[in-house]
Amino acid sequence: MIDAAVLSRLALFADLQAPQLQAVAELMDEASFPRDTRVLRSGISGGGFYVITDGEASVRIDGRDRVRFHPGDFFGELSILTGDPVVADIVAVSEELRCAVLPEHRLRPLLLDYPHLGLRMLEAMARRLRATTLWSE
C-alpha cells in the first residue's frame, strides 16, 4: 500500500478523483532501491508495473545507459502487455529510487476500470515512440 498523496502528484493519475485514487493506492506497493540495483532484469519474466515517485532510473542494454527515467515516468508495461520477458535492465541511478509498484496481473483490470489512466499512459508511450523514431532516423 502506498500513500494516495504520493500518487496524486503524478501526471499518470491526474484524472482520478480522491476516492478512486485511494482505491488505486491500496493496490500498489511502495519500493525503494539503492543506487546501482536492478529494478527489472533483462530476460526475466513476470515483473510488475513501476511508476517512479522519487529519484532516477536508467534503461541499460549491454552495459550502456540508453534512456533516463524521472519521477512520473513508468516502466514494465511492455513486458506485461506483450507477455514477453523484460528486454532491458532498469537500474537505479540516484542515491535512492522510489517507485509505486502494481502487480502485473492487476495492470489490465486497472486500465479497464480507469480508461483515463489508460489514455494518459498511451499518450506517454506515444511520446516515447516518437522520440525513438526521430532518434533512429
Binding site: 500500500m1 502506498i2 500513500d3 498523496a5 478523483q17 480522491a18 476516492p19 478512486q20 485511494q22 482505491a23 493506492a25 491500496e26 493496490l27 506497493d29 511502495e30 519500493a31 525503494s32 532501491f33 539503492p34 540495483t37 536492478r38 532484469r41 530476460g43 526475466i44 519474466s45 513476470g46 515483473g47 510488475g48 520477458p85 535512492e96 509498484v101 502487480p103 502485473e104 496481473h105 492487476r106
Partner: protein
C-alpha cells in the same frame, strides 16, 4: 534466563527481540558459532503471540499428521508455525501442543510452542532489557543503548516484529481505537460497530464480534478480493463475515474512502465516498475500530539511515535483510518483508509469517557468520550424476522453496559441482559469479504452481519456467529430463 545473561559489553552481533524472529536468528547464530547477545524488553519468549491475535486463533496451518515424519525437513511445509532446528527432537514443537480442534493453532498453543523451543534449544535472552537508542562509532561499530547499559557490536539484528499500531491518515481517526485496543467482545453487545480496513485484522474483528454486535460494517476503498481470499490462509477469518453479508445478516462490506470521522457525545459519525460504486455515505456507529495495520517499531533507526516503504511502516532491505542506507543494521522476523524479492507474477514473499521468515533467519545467520569471518557457508560436494536428482528432489519437497515461492531458491554450483544451499533468488540473479543453477517453486496470480530454473553461465542468467503438474510431482522423469538438458548434466 534473564539476569546475568548477556551483560552489556562488546559482541559480534546483538539481536533485539524474543519473538519467533529473534529466537530463530539466535538459534542459528549459536549453531554457527557466532558470538552474540539477545536482549528483549519482554519478560518471556513469544513476541506478539503473547497477546495477539485478539480472537486467539492463528491463520497459518500446522497439520499434526502429514505425508512426512514430524522430525523430517519435508514436514516443515506442513507445519507453518514451528521454528526450525537441526536436532530432530527440537523440530515441529507447535503441533505437539495442538488439541486438533482446528488445523491452525490457537494463540496459547503457539506461545507454548515458542516457549518450549526457547527452553529446549537453550536460546538465552536477557529479558526486561529495553533497547532505547542507537548510534554508530567512528570505527563503524554500532552501539545500542539499553535500559541495562550499552552493547557494542559489528552487526545488529532487529527482530521487533511489525507490532506498533498504525493508522491510515484519515481526518478524525485519532479518536478511533486501534485493533490493538479492541475491548472485551461483550462490551460491543448490541452495538453498531464500524471496522476500518478489510485485511486480516479487520475480518478477524468482524468475525469475532458476530456473536455480540448488532451490526458490523467494514469499510476501505478496495473490495475484498474473494478469489484471492479463497486461496489464502485468511479464509479462516474472512468467510463468515462475507457469508453474513451475502445473506443479509447485518454485516456490511463497503468499498468507500472515508473523508472524515467525527466523534460526538454518543456516536462516531462517518462521511465516506463510494469507490466501486459512486455515492456519498453518512453513517453513525456506536463503536469504531481502526484495523489499519501495524508498523515496525524503528525507534531512532531512521536517523541512522534506515529507509522505509509502505508509508513508513516497513524498513527497505537488501536481499540479505540489511537496511539500505545503514550498513550493519539487519532485520529478522516479520520486518524481513522489507526485502521484497523479484515480485514475479505479482506474488509477494511469505516473510510476514513464521513459515517464511524462519528460513530468512537461517539465510541471515549464515550470511553474518560468513561476513564476520566465523564460518564460510557450508558447501556439500555432489557427484555429477547427483545434480539433476538433487534439484528435482528440491523442487518436489524442499520446504524452503514451497514456503517462499519465487523468493528463496536452492542453488548448485556447477564448478564442482556442490550444493550451495538456500539463497534469496534476487541475490542469485543479481550477484553474478561462477556457473551455477538455481531452482524455485513459483506461483502465478491464478494459483498455478510450477518450477522455475535459473542457469548462470559466463555471468548471464537464463530463465526457464517448467510446466505445472496436477500432483506437483516435480521429481518425475519429464522434469529430470528437462533439468538435465538445461544444466547439461546427466
Amino acid at each position: 534466563m534473564t539476569a546475568g545473561v548477556f551483560p552489556p559489553g562488546d559482541y559480534d552481533v546483538v539481536v533485539v527481540g524474543s519473538g519467533p524472529g529473534g529466537l530463530q536468528t539466535s538459534y542459528f547464530l549459536s549453531r554457527l558459532g557466532v558470538r552474540h547477545a539477545v536482549v528483549s524488553a519482554d519478560d518471556a519468549p513469544g513476541g506478539m503471540f503473547r497477546k495477539w491475535p485478539i480472537f486467539q486463533r492463528l491463520l497459518s496451518w500446522s497439520k499434526p499428521d502429514a505425508p512426512f515424519a514430524r522430525d523430517s525437513r519435508e514436514y516443515e511445509w506442513y507445519d507453518h508455525n514451528s521454528l526450525l532446528a537441526d536436532e530432530p527432537e527440537l523440530r515441529a514443537l507447535v503441533p505437539g501442543f495442538m488439541d486438533r480442534s482446528w488445523a491452525v493453532p490457537s494463540r496459547p498453543e503457539m506461545e507454548q510452542g515458542l516457549t518450549a523451543f526457547a527452553e529446549r534449544a537453550g536460546v538465552a535472552v536477557r529479558y526486561g532489557c529495553r533497547w532505547e537508542s542507537t548510534r554508530r562509532e567512528e570505527d563503524g561499530r554500532l552501539v545500542l543503548a539499553t535500559s541495562d547499559g550499552e552493547y557494542r557490536c559489528r552487526a545488529a539484528v532487529f527482530a521487533l516484529g511489525v507490532t506498533e499500531p498504525w493508522k491510515s491518515p484519515i481526518p478524525g481517526i485519532e479518536d478511533v481505537p486501534h485493533y490493538a485496543e479492541t475491548g472485551d467482545p461483550a462490551s460491543y453487545r448490541g452495538k453498531r460497530v464500524l471496522v476500518i480496513g478489510k485485511r486480516n485484522s479487520g475480518f478477524e474483528i468482524a468475525d469475532g464480534l458476530l456473536p455480540w454486535a448488532q451490526r458490523v460494517t467494514l469499510v476501505s476503498p478496495r473490495p475484498a478480493d474473494t478469489s484471492v481470499i479463497a486461496l489464502a490462509s485468511v479464509r479462516v477469518r474472512y468467510l463468515q463475515p462475507l457469508e453474513d453479508r451475502a445473506l443479509g445478516g447485518g454485516t456490511y462490506v463497503l468499498d468507500a474512502a472515508i473523508e472524515r470521522i467525527e466523534r460526538t457525545a454518543t456516536c462516531f459519525r462517518v462521511v465516506a465516498q463510494g469507490t466501486t460504486r459512486a455515492g456519498e455515505y453518512e453513517l453513525e456507529y456506536d463503536a469504531a475500530l481502526a484495523a489499519t495495520g501495524f508498523r515496525t517499531p524503528l525507534g531512532d533507526l531512521e536517523q541512522l539511515g534506515v529507509r522505509t516503504v509502505a508509508q513508513g511502516r516497513i524498513p527497505a532491505l537488501t536481499p540479505l535483510f540489511e537496511a539500505a542506507g545503514a550498513p550493519g543494521v539487519f532485520f529478522a522476523g516479520n520486518a524481513t518483508q522489507g526485502a521484497a524479492g523479484l515480485r514475479k507474477r505479482g506474488v509477494g514473499s511469505s516473510s510476514p509469517a513464521v513459515q517464511g521468515f524462519r528460513y530468512n533467519a537461517r539465510v541471515l545467520a549464515e550470511h553474518l557468520a560468513e561476513q564476520l569471518g566465523v564460518r564460510p557457508r557450508p558447501r556439500r560436494r555432489l557427484a555429477a550424476d547427483e545434480v539433476v536428482p538433487f534439484l528435482a528432489s528440491e523442487l518436489a519437497s524442499a520446504p524452503e522453496l514451497w514456503a517462499q515461492k519465487g523468493y528463496l531458491c536452492s542453488v548448485v554450483g556447477l564448478d564442482g559441482p556442490f550444493d550451495d544451499g538456500i539463497q534469496p533468488l534476487e541475490r542469485f540473479v543479481d550477484a553474478g559469479g561462477a556457473d551455477a543453477v538455481a531452482v524455485t517453486v513459483e506461483l502465478d496470480a491464478a494459483g498455478e504452481i510450477f518450477p522455475g530454473v535459473y542457469v548462470r553461465r559466463d555471468g548471464r542468467i537464463r530463465e526457464a519456467e517448467l510446466d505445472p503438474h496436477p500432483l506437483s510431482a516435480f521429481d518425475g522423469d519429464p522434469y529430470r529430463r528437462e533439468l538435465a538438458s538445461l544444466v547439461g548434466l546427466p
